[in-house]
């Protein structure tokens, strides 16, 4: 395992709703992250506890200014899905960032122009 460094695991995300944004009007953004959200309460087939591995924090920023953020706990289902609203007055760049257990961190950015 030590001789072959494993490639950085690909993080899969879905970000929907940017195309439907209209200038000055609130629109809904729907964001999903592929993640097991292992709650640390389950056992594997050998009776060992599967260690907790969850996403604990999500932030969405518009041009560096906070729009929406969430603290997540073990009660959030696997592949955490969040839908929230954004009102933008013009074009901008959105950043979506997740943090989690075991140093998990992932960031996506999207430029958009509301109609």
């Amino acid at each position: 395992m030590a001789d072959t460094p494993s490639p950085a695991p690909r993080v899969r995300t879905l970000i929907h709703g940017l195309d439907a944004l209209r200038r000055g009007q609130p629109g809904e953004l729907r964001v999903t992250l592929a993640h097991p959200m292992e709650n640390g309460l389950r056992h594997d087939g050998f009776g060992n506890v599967v260690p907790r591995n969850i996403v604990t924090r999500f932030e969405c920023k518009l041009d560096g200014q906070p729009v929406f953020s969430a603290d997540l706990y073990t009660a959030i289902a696997a592949n955490p899905y969040l839908a929230f609203w954004l009102r933008a007055d013009g074009p901008g760049t959105l950043s979506f960032e997740w943090w989690g257990d075991w140093g998990f961190q992932h960031r996506e950015t999207r430029a958009f122009t509301p109609a």
């Binding site: 809904e28 709650n39 729009v67 073990t74 009660a75 959030i76 899905y81 609203w85 009102r87």
Partner: protein, 157 residues
């Protein structure tokens, strides 16, 4: 070579001691389980930080009968104009009977434009859920909902 019979037979003292020990074990476990997670009322009171919470202005939309507790869609909507002067600052969801009381805490800003959040949660059993909202002016609002769960999360693999 087995020990003499009278050594193996439990004495009156053994039986009483075992019964006392068993009683102690049975008694301690529920106490430990209860003290591990605070009650729903306790976490609500802690969140409210001594200020009043009024039932209203918040809508926690969740199916009253849930077939699979592993993925339960919820929606929280708060009645607010979401302007710089008057907007929702925080939305929190707590549960009554999962291993942990916290479900999620959301921070909103005027850039949100609308005070509505959706996500999918896990429910370990039939229980009460609460959504709490704190406004810019410091007022606090809540909505309690009872949910029936037929297939529990957290226990099944």
């Amino acid at each position: 070579m087995s020990p003499p019979l009278h050594r193996r037979r439990p004495t009156r003292r053994n039986i009483l001691g075992a019964a006392a020990g068993l009683g102690l074990v049975l008694h301690l476990r529920p106490v430990a389980a209860v003290s591990a997670a605070p009650t729903l009322q306790a976490v609500e009171r802690q969140w409210a930080a001594g200020r009043p919470v009024t039932e209203g202005r918040v809508l926690l939309d969740v199916a009253p009968l849930v077939e699979n507790g592993n993925t339960v869609p919820i929606r929280v909507q708060v009645d607010s104009p979401m302007t710089a002067a008057d907007h929702v600052v925080e939305i929190v969801v707590f549960n009554e009977r999962n291993p942990q009381r916290d479900v999620a805490r959301f921070s909103l800003t005027p850039a949100s434009g609308m005070a509505q959040v959706q996500t999918r949660i896990r429910l370990a059993t039939s229980q009460q859920l609460v959504a709490l909202a704190r406004m810019r002016d410091g007022t606090q609002w809540s909505h309690h909902v009872d949910v029936l769960v037929t297939l529990a999360a957290c226990i099944e693999p």
